[in-house]
Symmetry: C2
Subunit: 302 residues, 2 copies
């Protein structure tokens, strides 16, 4: 089943203790789509400027991502610059240039409108609803957001959440959104806003999923070399939603496997800059790492 | 099989955002022994002053902890005072009075010397070796330590580690001991110092165990109300070692279950001040929470 995503396609300039990358391909929708493309067809909605090179277009096409919804307009593509210290859990944003993103009004191609599965990546919550209005009758809507929107557009974000089934955010955002220090309490509050399932992303500590069936904790893969965490959350979301769109099963059991699949994809992504590591994975590698996750957390009953 | 533990028995004064407790029963050996007592007989080695009340002695006896190795001497019992902010992962030590602990020379009663399973709680590494020398031929030796000994007695600690099979420390201590920011690299280095199994305690993020069989990650129980984390690490160690002493099986499979058992005990401990919550648990509660841990991390293969 085709998966619709709206988000950013960008150039990133990133510095980590292990190296740097200048104006490389990035953006939430890019990481998401690439990751999801291993599991399902993806319909992308985003905007780029006339400085966006053909090689990146070709790469996305090569991954079978439908680009009919990628607007190409005069001006510069969205740019983000960030830096990580040895604590790779949090980026310091050095610079953000919205550029063509500033006046972006997403308009869905006709054949996108029947989408069953929708992911609203981290963009202005007004735009998230704008996209959602154009989808006929989605079965599952998932969303991400960030501290910037929680601060500056809280009411609009709460409005968006009423129509979201699955929210994926990090622990700091969950605390900020609810004013609750304790994550279990924060989760209960967020579920009262609309989403029936909440995934809290905790970087190197994995992911915790809350829904009416209880709590599921997926560890992060213990890597010896984390090179660049940029895009890890979007790559996670891509694996998670891609797996759901592939199975079209939304039981707790499948949501759990999807959360592990997201963790698998994110674990590959952080091993190199930009999308280098997830450009061309073998599906066998994905299955192997999924089984490694199983071995990581397995124990027998007493 | 009786489990030998050497460590501190103390009075704690603790402040958390949820309340405070004055001069309550604490100490690494106290938390450890109480937790382990649900699984095995415990032989305690420690020292208290003449201010240590009979009610605490009676409590430890009630838990079937053998106190022949608890020296009672003139002077004041060890005291610790600490404070936690909303980030309950780290205590701020406000005051430490070693008192009778300062000149403590542990001397094992004859019937303790045949111990098969030994836990050297967080004390001076010189004393840890002093105790070990008095044990005839232990099958498994486990130890804990802290930043203070890593800084001030590194060589002695490294000497102790040569005779330790299982080391239990937190993530900050693992990084400090090895100079490695990455935990997988830190773990490999620590294993080269002697221990064949390393458990890294990560507070609300659970426990990661490293050995030749691979890596095991146990989550922490997602509690809505963490009241007081004091003693969580020692309570974890008590459940872990108690379960091992009970089974006398040291395969990776049993070590994994033991790590979950430690997590179960620690999850109860943090629900109240001092040992209030683990004074008198029903074994059925322990089994129930063990199964909840299973449900927390369970997912089916793809």
């Amino acid at each position: 089943m085709a998966l619709l995503v709206v988000g950013s396609v960008a150039f990133d300039t990133v510095e980590t203790p292990f190296g740097q990358a200048q104006e490389v391909l990035g953006g939430s929708a890019t990481y998401f789509s690439t990751s999801a493309s291993y599991f399902t067809d993806v319909n992308l909605v985003a905007v780029v400027g006339d400085d966006f090179p053909e090689k990146h277009i070709n790469f996305l096409k090569m991954r079978n991502i439908n680009l009919d919804g990628l607007e190409r307009t005069g001006g510069k593509t969205f740019r983000w610059q960030g830096k990580y210290g040895y604590d790779l859990n949090e980026a310091q944003t050095l610079n953000t240039e919205l550029n063509v993103f500033e006046h972006f009004k997403p308009k869905l191609p006709e054949h996108y409108k029947g989408a069953d599965v929708v992911f609203l990546a981290n963009i202005d919550p007004d735009l998230q609803r704008e996209v959602l209005k154009q989808v006929n009758s989605p079965k599952i809507v998932a969303a991400d957001t960030m501290n910037f929107w929680i601060e500056s557009k809280r009411d609009s974000l709460i409005e968006t959440l009423k129509n979201v089934n699955i929210l994926l955010i990090n622990d700091g955002e969950a605390r900020q959104l609810t004013g609750e220090a304790n994550l279990v309490k924060a989760a209960r509050k967020i579920i009262s806003y609309g989403p029936s399932t909440l995934l809290i992303k905790r970087g190197e500590y994995g992911v915790t999923m809350f829904n009416e069936h209880g709590i599921f904790i997926a560890p992060a893969y213990p890597l010896e070399d984390v090179f660049d965490p940029t895009g890890a959350g979007d790559t996670f979301a891509g694996g998670f939603m891609g797996y759901l769109a592939n199975t079209m099963d939304f039981t707790d059991e499948t949501l759990r496997r999807a959360a592990v699949m997201g963790s698998v994809m994110a674990s590959y992504n952080v091993e190199d800059f930009s999308l280098n590591k997830i450009r061309d994975l073998d599906y066998k590698e994905i299955e192997t790492r999924f089984r490694e996750f199983k071995a990581l957390s397995h124990f027998e009953d007493i």
